[in-house]
Every structure is written in C-alpha cells, then in structure tokens.
C-alpha cells in the first residue's frame, strides 16, 4: 500500500477500490467474531476457501466481525442476494457454493425459522431479531473484513476524517459533536462535545486521547464486538478527536486482557492505518501528527474507571483518584486527557458524515442516537443488538429477544451490570434512555441486558453482583472496601437461611451510605443492584429472612425439594404421596412447586429411583 498524501489520494483510492469490487459480484461473508469462532466458523471459512480454490472460482470469502446473532452461529451471508444462513457447518460449504453461490437457490435447512411465528427468513431483514434494530455504530460490524482496511474505505471509511481535515476547524468539529447530542456510552452519559470542549480549553502543549475498551461488566460485550468487527471506526473517531482537541500526538486504546481477538484486530488495523498514512506524521497532508498505541489490561474491573485506567496506563496499580481535577485538566501523566468509550468514538465518523441534525433525530429528547446492548440471560434470541434510544424494555425483550426462554414467566431484566439495577415486570414499558432508566433506579451502564425469569432468585442475583464488585474493589476507600464486604456478609447470611429481622433495613442504610461516600463510580454504584432488588422484590427478601424460604427455589441452603428431570421415570408416585398437592404435572414431567411444598419428605420416601433431592435442610414455617 502506498502512503496517502492528501484527501484527494484517499478519494482516488476509494474510487479505485469500488471499481475493483464491482467486478466481483459474489461474496461469501462468514462471521469470525469470538462467538461464531466458538461455534466453529474458522473451519467454515477454511472449507469455503478450499472449495473455491478447488473449483477455481473468483468468489471472495470474507471473514467478518460479529454479526450479532451469536447464538445461531456460525453465520454466513451470500452476496449479492444477501441470503442469510445460520448454524452452518464446514461440510455445508460445497453445497452452498453449488446451489446458492452459483445457481442462486436457497437451502431451506440453513435458513432461519422464527421460533415464534414459524416463518422462514431469507435474509437478515426478514428476521425479527434484526427488524427493530437500527445499526449505526454497528453499520460495518459483520459486513466487512475488519483486518482489511480496504473494506472499511470502500464503505466510506475515513471519509469523515477527510472532511474534518480538509474543510473544518477544530471548533466546528466540537460544535457538531455537541449539537448531535451524543453522550458518553461508558455508562454515565456525559455529553461528549462538552468533554472535548473542556479538553481543548485546558492549558497544555501536550494532551492525550484515550479510548476506554476495558469492558469489565460481566454480561456486556459491545465494545469487544466493535473493536473486533470494526476497529477502524474507533480509530477514525480518535483521530478526529485528536484534531478537535489539539496538541495531541499520542493516543491509547486500553483493551481488556480477556479479549485477545480484539487486541489482534486492533493491532492489525493500527498498522494498516499507519501504512496508509492515516496515522503517524502529517496525516493526509494536513500537518496533523497523531499515533495510537494499544495498552492491554491485566484483569482489574476498576480499571474501567477513567482515572484508574490512566493509572494503569502509567504502569501503576489501577486505583482511582479523587476528582477534581477532571481528567480533561489533569489526566494521564497529569496532562489534559480526553477519554471516551469505544462506542462513543465509533459514533463520531457517522455524526461527521451524516451531520448533527440527522443524528439528533434518532432517540429521545435528552438521549440521542442509538445504543448497543448485549441481550443475554433467559431470553430466546441472545446476541448483540443496536436500538434507537427510547425503545421500551418490552420491545427489546419480547420483539427482538423473542420472549423468555422456555416461555417461562418474565421476572426482571437487569440493565447496567454490577452498577445498574433490575427492572421488574411493571416497568416493562419504560423507555430505554439515560433519564428514564435512572428514574426507575437502574442505569444505562455499559449496556448489559440480562433477562431473568421466575426461576431466578433476586436475593441471590443481588448477592452475585455484590460479590463481584466486592472482589473487584480496589481497596482504596473504606466505604467501598469495608461496606461492600459487610453488605455481602449480610446477603450471604440471608441466602444461607440465617437472615435476621432488620437485615433489609440495614442493607438499605449501608447501601445509601456507600453510594454517597465512595470515592469512585465503582463504589458509588455497587449497592445499586441490591437496593433496586430490595425495592422491587422486598417480598422475596422477607421470605428468605422470615420464612427461611426461597420462592424461586434457587438458594440451596433453604432446601427446596427438586425432581431431577433426567432420572425421573414419570411414575407419578410422588404426586400421589404428596399431602400438600405441591407436585405438579406438566407435559414433560413433574416438578415441585415450592409455594405449596411443606418439606415433609414423603415424596423422597416413595420415589423408586431416588431422583428427588433436597439440598440443605429447610426450616419449616412455624
């Protein structure tokens, strides 16, 4: 590749690439994201390539980034028709080439059949999972080869950068970002334009731009997917930021240690951008000098906090510091630093090319644009989704997600991971935006969306989140270090059947104190999952404490009786033996309803195959 010396060079390259692409109509796109890789997509790619070579076909096999529907992987899209195949095996490759690529016919077996309507979908647009989505940040994810910069340039990549460098002043760039209403996607939702403005206004001849890719929230993987599937959009966003802030020659992308593929793809993207002269000195002949370095995390959740992240980049213990001063005044190595989330940076190129007005039309009054969520848990369709702000939780769970797994009763959805909170059934129609989520006690967080059904215990889930934040507390400030530990002790006591009267009130009081007195975001939000769970599911907490009973039948110490489905002979003797009519018959077997179960153990005695278990001893209600 030759170095691009000007904006015109870039345009010429793009046109040449488009012409070259047009000659090749057929393309086979195979998802090579972490999810599909786990399902064997590398083998599928190999099989396609080998088969093409064997038959001497001029069809390009494109390994793409995450296409979102990870559950159905490996995913394959055949262009130009856009036929979408799911759960493709390496053995299917010759057949797909023969029938679909060469003759344009579909293979019904590999098409997606909707679980709710039973309708067969030919392409992505016909699949309900994709229908309500709006792909702005994920525009290229799953469509291009992330390890080939040409793919990105063909789709209009670095066009925004060219526009900025050739026709806009830094002030104009900041103004557009401000007008677009873009807010930080890391969780807190600070207006991005304002942050850039502060960073620009700060005095200093040396400033830094940092991309926060330390996505530590368990249950969230949007940053991973963007970094893996479309690294150039993040890089382009960072270069534009560097230009707008001014006096920036160095930038960092901080990536979690757990994301090896993201590190690999970003490294490739950086070196290709450097080769083309899109990074380095005199970018596109504009006299802008800027380069980006990758920093790998080493496994500390707290490093997702911006000041802790900077400490980590400096090679120190990743502990947050007191703010102010803000990072935009004194951040990395005490220099003004502009830190944004992966998703935030990936939004920038679109805003520049399509304009602030276009972007501001998407979303709600206060929250503009789209948000990517990782839809997981007890839901039929899991995967990565991008939706306009303001969509309701119901639409996400039931329309895109296809409803609760096994058609069980929906209980709650947890948004925002260990910093967020749960949203119960009665708030299903709450619109997803920064303010509305805050009003119901949750928060946007980084975008993990975990669906829970009736068999999930809200006390246990709260304990799970708190045990995570407690483990990850850096230990610097006592409210977080000691407070979360004490709260965890109480919750553990409750799930083990040793809860006491007054525990709930104590948890609430401690939670509020930790929230107000902790140093950083980790501590300030750590009690959130517990507090919202108490708020919406107080009855469950009371049942654990007063009745020593877990309504969901999860807490083992509280000894729910259970039938091991795999071993059950379906003889029905237990049902006859039960004096409390607690054993219910369903189409596929028997189960014990904990609400009626008295824990007498009569069923255990009669079971011929000993498939009824009691984990722990249940204290019978007095």
């Amino acid at each position: 590749m030759t170095r691009l010396k000007s904006v015109e060079d870039l345009q010429a390259l793009r046109e040449a690439l488009i012409r070259r692409r047009e000659a090749k109509k057929h393309r086979v796109k195979v998802c090579a994201g972490t999810g599909c890789r786990a399902s064997g997509s590398i083998g599928v790619i190999k099989a396609f390539s080998e088969e093409m070579e064997k038959q001497g076909l001029e069809v390009e096999v494109v390994p793409t980034g995450c296409q979102g529907f990870c559950q159905r992987g490996p995913l394959v899209t055949i262009e130009p028709q856009g036929i979408f195949y799911q759960k493709v095996d390496a053995f299917d490759a010759p057949k797909i080439i023969d029938l679909t690529v060469l003759r344009g016919k579909e293979i019904e077996r590999l098409l997606y059949t909707d679980t709710v309507t039973g309708k067969v979908a030919r392409n992505q647009r016909e699949i309900p999972f994709y229908q309500k989505q709006m792909r702005v940040v994920l525009r290229n994810c799953g469509g291009i080869n992330p390890t080939n910069i040409e793919d990105y340039i063909v789709t209009g990549g670095y066009e925004a950068l060219a526009k900025v460098l050739s026709s806009m002043t830094p002030e104009e760039v900041i103004e557009i970002v401000k007008e677009s209403g873009l807010r930080g996607r890391g969780g807190a939702g600070f207006p991005t334009g304002l942050k850039w403005k502060y960073a620009k206004a700060a005095k200093g001849d040396r400033k830094y731009v940092i991309c926060n890719g330390d996505e530590g929230d368990p249950g969230a993987f949007m940053d991973r997917s963007v970094l893996e599937g479309d690294p150039h959009s993040v890089i382009e966003g960072m270069i534009i930021c560097a230009y707008a802030v001014g006096n920036v020659s160095e930038g960092f992308i901080y990536v979690r240690e757990e994301y090896p593929l993201a590190v690999e793809n970003v490294s490739i993207a950086l070196s290709q951008a450097r080769e083309l002269g899109l990074l380095g000195e005199d970018i596109l002949g504009s006299s802008l000098n800027f380069d980006i370095e990758i920093k790998r995390g080493a496994g500390a959740f707290v490093c997702g906090e911006s000041t802790a992240l900077m400490m980590s980049i400096e090679g120190r213990r990743g502990m947050p510091r007191v703010t102010p001063p803000r990072s935009t005044e004194a951040g990395l190595w005490a220099k003004p630093t502009c830190l944004n989330n992966v998703e935030t940076f990936a939004n920038i190129p679109v805003i520049i090319t399509k304009g602030a007005d276009w972007y501001a039309r998407i979303g709600t009054k206060e929250s503009k644009g789209t948000k990517i969520f990782a839809l997981t848990g007890k839901v039929k369709n899991t995967g990565l989704i991008e939706v306009p702000m303001g969509i309701t939780v119901r639409e996400v769970v039931f329309d895109i997600g296809g409803g609760v797994l096994g058609d069980k009763r929906f209980k709650a959805v947890q948004i925002g991971g260990p910093s967020g909170g749960c949203i119960p059934r009665e708030h299903l129609d709450v619109p997803i935006d920064f303010e509305s989520l805050g009003e119901v006690g949750s928060m946007m967080g980084s975008g993990g969306l975990v669906v829970m059904d009736e068999s999930d215990c809200m006390v246990e889930i709260a304990r799970f989140f708190l045990s995570f934040t407690q483990r990850e507390s850096c230990g610097k400030c006592p409210p977080c270090r000691i407070g979360t530990y004490e709260m965890l002790e109480i919750l553990t006591r409750i799930v083990e059947g040793r809860g006491e009267e007054g525990d709930i009130e104590l948890l609430e009081r401690m939670g509020e104190e930790i929230e107000t007195t902790s140093l950083c975001g980790l501590g300030k939000t750590a009690p959130n999952p517990v507090l919202t769970a108490i708020h919406y599911f107080r009855g469950e907490y009371e049942a654990h404490i007063r009745d020593k009973y877990c309504p969901a039948g999860i807490c083992r110490a509280l000894g729910a009786y259970r039938i091991l489905e795999d071993e059950c002979l379906l003889c029905g003797l237990c049902r006859e033996a039960c004096a409390y009519d607690a054993i219910m018959e369903e189409r596929d077997g028997f189960y014990i309803d904990p609400v009626y179960c008295n824990g007498c153990g009569a069923c255990v005695v009669v079971c011929p195959v000993h498939c009824i278990t009691v984990e722990g001893k249940r204290v019978v209600k007095a």
Partner: protein
C-alpha cells in the same frame, strides 16, 4: 538444572526490560511480557525487573499483585477458565464449575501437582450469547460438558507422550 533455569530467567527478563528502555509507564507491559515468556512471574524475574527499573521490589510486587491476571506460581499446561459472568451465572455456570472441581480434584484458582491443569474462573469473556461458556487455553470451547472436556484434554496429553 535449577541454576541453568535461573540464569535463563535472568537473561530473558533483562532482554524484555531492555526492549522498553527509555519509555515511561512500562511496568505492566514488562510484567505481561515476562509472564508470556514463563507462564508466570518467577521470583528471579521480579528481582531483575525491580533492579533494572530502579524501583523497590515491593513496588513491583505491589503492582503485579493488584491485577488478577498476574501469577506468582507456575501454571498448568491446560488452563480451564469457567466464565462466571452474569449471563453465564443465570444459565448455570456454577454447576459447570463444580463438576470441573470434582473431575479435576481442584478448586477454583488451583493448579494440579503434575502441572497439567489449572482451573480458574473469569468474570466475563464477552461471549454471553453462548452462555454458559468455558474457555480452554484461551479458546472459547464449543464443548461444555466438563467430563468430556477433561477426558479429551487427558487423551491429547497421552497422545503427545
């Protein structure tokens, strides 16, 4: 034997530290590279790092021990990581962890005496759509049945021998 190994450790570590000469904020990077080389952070290497960077040994250990992905003892040839992130948790990852624990006779974070296996948990590998997830030697595994995974890994070991 021991001495030769120690020499090698010192030599290699010095080489790694040298690579970062003149740059600032490199301690975490050096630790990562050293760990990549040896699989863990040997005491000898830590001594060299502290000396070469002119920081106290306590400082070097202070930083290394802060991060969960630095290890001070040798690790197994096969590293089994069970994801216990939220999505995996609600889909039953603890049952998988328990089965691995009985299958291998190891607890979370332990390495077997013959250095064949290390069992640990990870808080999310970002593969939530496939939950519950098991990561074998840095690759997300399609197979999730602990018994079959361990049998397969043991089988591969024997073939190698």
């Amino acid at each position: 034997m021991g001495e030769i190994c120690a020499c090698l450790e010192l030599e290699k570590t010095r080489e790694i530290v040298k690579k970062y000469e003149g740059k600032q904020g490199v301690l975490v990077h050096i630790l990562q590279d050293v760990q990549l080389e040896f699989g863990y952070l040997p005491e000898n290497a830590m001594n060299v790092i502290a000396k070469e960077l002119d920081i106290s040994l306590a400082h070097a250990y202070g930083v290394a021990s802060f991060y969960t992905r630095f290890y001070f003892t040798p690790r197994g040839e096969n590293i089994i990581r069970v994801c216990v992130g939220t999505a995996c948790h609600v889909r039953g990852s603890h049952a998988i962890l328990e089965e691995f624990e009985t299958e291998l006779g190891l607890k979370d974070g332990e390495t077997s005496d013959d250095l064949k296996f290390t069992l640990e948990t990870v808080s999310c590998v970002g593969c939530c759509a496939l939950a519950p997830v098991v990561v074998i030697n840095d690759v997300v595994s399609k197979e999730r049945n602990p018994k079959r995974i361990v049998t397969k890994l043991r089988g591969e070991e024997e073939q190698d021998d």
